[in-house]
Symmetry: C2
Subunit: 161 residues, 2 copies
DNA sequence: CTTAAAATGAAATTGAAATTCAATTTCAAA
DNA sequence: TTTGAAATTGAATTTCAATTTCATTTTAAG
């Protein structure tokens, strides 16, 4: 039985924005894309493709790895996701739903990634750029060290996150 | 004809330091390692393996890619080289001969990488870390934009370097 | 010298990212 | 609705840098 207006739980406002964005690009709205977007937006943090795929597969095992890969790339193009590459070289995706620019603190013990914003950093960036005649469009700042809990352990365990 | 003491041009002080470092590690000093080190120290900038290998091959085509790869890894372990991964994901190597910590300005037009140091950045780092209860060991800051020349071209060309 | 340990280098392997292509789905126009 | 061109899907494959393997060669200690 199919309802004309079925507002399922989890169907967020973003899904509709997504339909609009997608058709504006001459692209098509599909069930897979909707599902991947839904899962992606309803999760937090910085996940690599394998992690996102695992989560998608839990809900719908029929969706392929490739589709997840391409959808995340698409979301990045549309500005809904952002790619991040930290020192380990893995590509991670982060939702841009929260909006503003931020940088990262990364725990070498447990792998926890904490976001931060700092106005001082932004102005510093411009001062440095001016000094070297550059016109800056974006930056990347990562601070590597140990978070509170890990700083007190003797042998902190590695965790993905 | 073989001279007993042949101080070839290019044999720098570092070569001897290298011999010492290497034997201290229980490793062996070889012609290949010396040649690779020599080329690496007598070049500047941030090069990827393929670029370093190409330069080595120009001097001695008998040296294999694997050996260059392993030697750069060794140099990194010994603290003579440092690995860098910028947003494009490629691994680059930089000589640590110049010494101090620095960060990078990266031109999106021509690929030029400019180093900079900034004390304000270092103190900022500690302020942010304290705010989040982290103990920071190192950081990474990269500013992406256009350098002076590229900012004025209509279609800047991509260059490695 | 002799010899064990280390290094070399060609080739093979790994693994993430990207692409291919036949089958399927979407959606606008009929 | 139905249709069909264009886009999407997903398994399989390719790509490509990074890394490992292994048979052979080189180093340096004794």
């Amino acid at each position: 039985m199919k309802l004309k207006f079925n507002f399922k739980k989890g169907k967020t406002m973003e899904s509709n924005q997504f339909k609009t964005l997608i058709s504006e690009e001459g692209l098509k709205s599909t069930r897979q894309r909707a599902e991947i977007l839904d899962i992606f937006l309803n999760s937090t943090g910085h996940k690599n493709l394998a992690e996102i795929y695992a989560q998608v597969a839990k809900t719908n095992p029929k969706i392929g790895y490739t589709t997840v890969y391409r959808t995340l790339k698409l979301l990045t193009r549309l500005g809904l996701a952002a790619q991040r590459k930290f020192a380990d070289g893995e590509t991670r995706y982060e939702s841009t739903a929260e909006g503003t620019h931020h940088d990262h603190l990364i725990c070498l013990g447990c792998g926890k990634i904490v976001e931060f914003e700092d106005d001082g950093l932004e102005s510093l960036q411009h001062r440095i750029a001016r000094r070297h005649g550059f016109k800056i469009f974006h930056h990347r700042m990562e601070l590597y060290g140990y978070c509170g809990p890990c700083a007190h352990k003797k042998t902190p365990l590695r965790r993905k996150g």
